[in-house]
Homo-oligomer: 385 residues x 2
């Protein structure tokens, strides 16, 4: 059996830290700050919670500005890809101590952002930040503390596990990987069985995204601790999305992934975990291109899933649903900066057609992970009811 699929895969299982910053975090000295800061910026910068151990930079302030500091004494230019959307990022300036510093020209959206550095024309990651798989590579990550970050914070509550499994795939002649979230108490009584949510990442990402960038495990731990969600398993695997360039979705062939998911992974999960069987106990959801995949697979396989969710990933129309009795729930969400009207009008039409459909719009976010963390928070309580 070839291992080709696996050769290039690794995962960061982020500890999924809360967005609160370290109480011991040093703040930037105003002397350093003045060299590059915009006007009216509050000097309460603290290290991003996604920094590597002991690293002060990148920093974030209470307004959502991000400040960067890079050591490259002999470099001619250092730029950070982050900034205000589409304006070429943040150009760092050399300061007294020979390092390069700069602050975003405005506040960033709350939540998680990918970024990288351009140093003398080459693209590198920030040595201060941890890496997350997006845009087909391990990128630097930074977290702007969200006002509602409590729902994905690491708290002193019972915690489920995130388990790496390796399953055989004949259709792809490979051994493939998935991550499985099992809720607190799972397995203590083997007579207790659980329904399963199959949760997909977006284009350019992989099976690591929902645990790392998405904090799916902590969102579930917190919902369960508050009694807001039923106990269920979440399975996250690679959606084979990266064989297709973004925008080329129309030419995307769902068949190879549908075969891996439905004919190989689901049977493996149902044999190796304490699962309830049948479509009433299976949900599929995905973000962005993972939503596109979810829509295709749920419609192709109405006998496999009964709960459907598209997170910034398109919409269903009433005509899509051949047999309404097979659909227990349709959930559609997006950020307020995406196309909420489309999501909401679609849900209205689905409801009028007699389907149990819900919409959710994440305030002041776009096509980004805070939208999807919040969407999971809204979706989970509605599943398997």
């Amino acid at each position: 059996m070839k291992k080709k699929h696996l050769l290039n895969f690794a995962v960061i299982l982020s500890i999924a830290v809360s967005s609160c910053v370290s109480p011991t975090a040093p703040t930037a000295s105003s002397e350093q700050a003045e060299s590059t800061e915009p006007a009216n910026i509050i000097e309460d910068f603290k290290p991003s919670v996604l920094n590597q151990p002991g690293k002060q930079y990148p920093m974030v302030n209470s307004q959502g500005y991000a400040r960067f500091k890079i050591e490259a004494p002999d470099a001619d230019s250092v730029r950070v890809s982050l900034g205000l959307g589409g304006r070429g990022g943040t150009i760092l300036k050399k300061v007294e101590d020979g390092t390069w510093m700069g602050t975003t020209e405005g506040p960033m959206d709350e939540g998680f952002h990918y970024y990288h550095l351009t140093i003398d024309g080459g693209i590198f990651n920030d040595p201060g930040a941890m890496n997350y798989f997006g845009s087909l590579r391990w990128e630097s990550g930074i977290e702007i503390p969200a006002h509602d970050r409590d729902f994905y914070a690491l708290k002193d509550v019972p915690h489920g596990k995130v388990e790496q499994i390796l399953f055989p795939s004949e259709s792809t002649d490979s051994i493939r990987r998935a991550f499985v979230y099992t809720p607190p108490g799972y397995g203590k009584n083997s007579s207790v069985k659980y329904p399963v949510l199959y949760l997909q990442h977006g284009w350019g990402e992989d099976e690591t995204a929902w645990s790392n960038q998405g904090r799916a495990n902590l969102i579930m731990d917190n919902l369960i601790a508050e009694g807001k969600a039923k106990l269920f398993i979440i399975v996250m695997t690679y959606g084979m999305t990266n064989e297709t360039k973004f925008g080329g979705l129309k030419s995307f062939d769902i068949t190879p992934f549908q075969t891996v998911l439905v004919d190989e992974l689901i049977p493996y999960v149902e044999e190796n975990f304490l699962t309830l069987k049948g479509s009433d106990n299976r949900a599929m959801a995905g973000l962005s291109m993972g939503g596109f995949e979810t829509r295709l697979i749920t419609l192709n396989k109405p006998d496999v899933f009964s709960y459907y969710a598209l997170l910034s990933g398109g919409v269903y129309s009433p005509e899509d649903i051949k047999d309404k009795s097979t659909v227990k729930l349709i959930f559609q969400s997006c950020g307020s900066r995406e196309n909420p009207e489309r999501v909401e009008s679609s849900v209205k039409a689905l409801n009028e057609a007699g389907l149990n459909a819900f919409s959710y719009v994440s305030e002041n976010t776009g096509h980004e992970f805070l939208t999807w963390r919040r969407s999971l928070r809204e979706l989970a309580p509605k599943l398997f009811r």
Copy 2:
């Protein structure tokens, strides 16, 4: 409860790829190669199996040379920290296409190596390689295929899981993380209980090292498939080693970690996993500083562990063992380039004192992960017999 401990922690759970290279891997064109290569080098370079998806460089050839290619068109100097020990690494030269290339001046040791780039005086990771936590930071990693790599290869055999757990620690006022390897079939019958190996990383590393750099899960899967090892659980957590600088071991206080391990983690594991209880069902092992910790804790707590293993991590003397009846096994290993005489003479003395002690020396390796992968392969079959 503070989450300070967690703020800086993330893990790469490498898929623990085999060291075989991708059949589709392109080889370097000799044109590119001639610009920087040493004499008598065989031009069969292939991408390192630890490269990021789709990345050709770094490459490795069948002799163990590593070749690097970095895009930084406007940089003045690019150096790779890897090379022949202590000789300042490999200086890359600018080639026709404007990229920087270079090849190590000689073959590297087989197995895993950490490295980084120095670009215009700043330290960055290689955008082509995946990252591994060592030297207190996420470093680039490269794998030189070992002649005996089959024992840690990903194979079509039953695979255990690697589970991230989050456990409360009152003594450190934090929620801490461990990774738990459970063998194939674990949990299918809750009446089957397993002994546990507590396995520690080295200084500058963390709880991710044994799964990623060490391939502990695949080494166990393969030994179990061959019927060579008993089924047991492996628990890997952060040894709090990084509060002490290397060399400062004499001043290292083992008490805080011993409290977390013995009073907090072991009870949590024994409550939440299917474990056999009692010292006869507990082993402790560690590499380098993790061996130093293992030696201190096993001697402080003879009632907790009965199996001891130091991998490039010092030795026991017969005088260390107060009550020989509490020790079922002592295993000591190192690379042939370390101090095998010390390990072997110590084991001889332990045997003469009536202890069940074994030594293992890894051929042609030093203080590095191939030594420790091989050491685990030799240790596992001896545990819990």
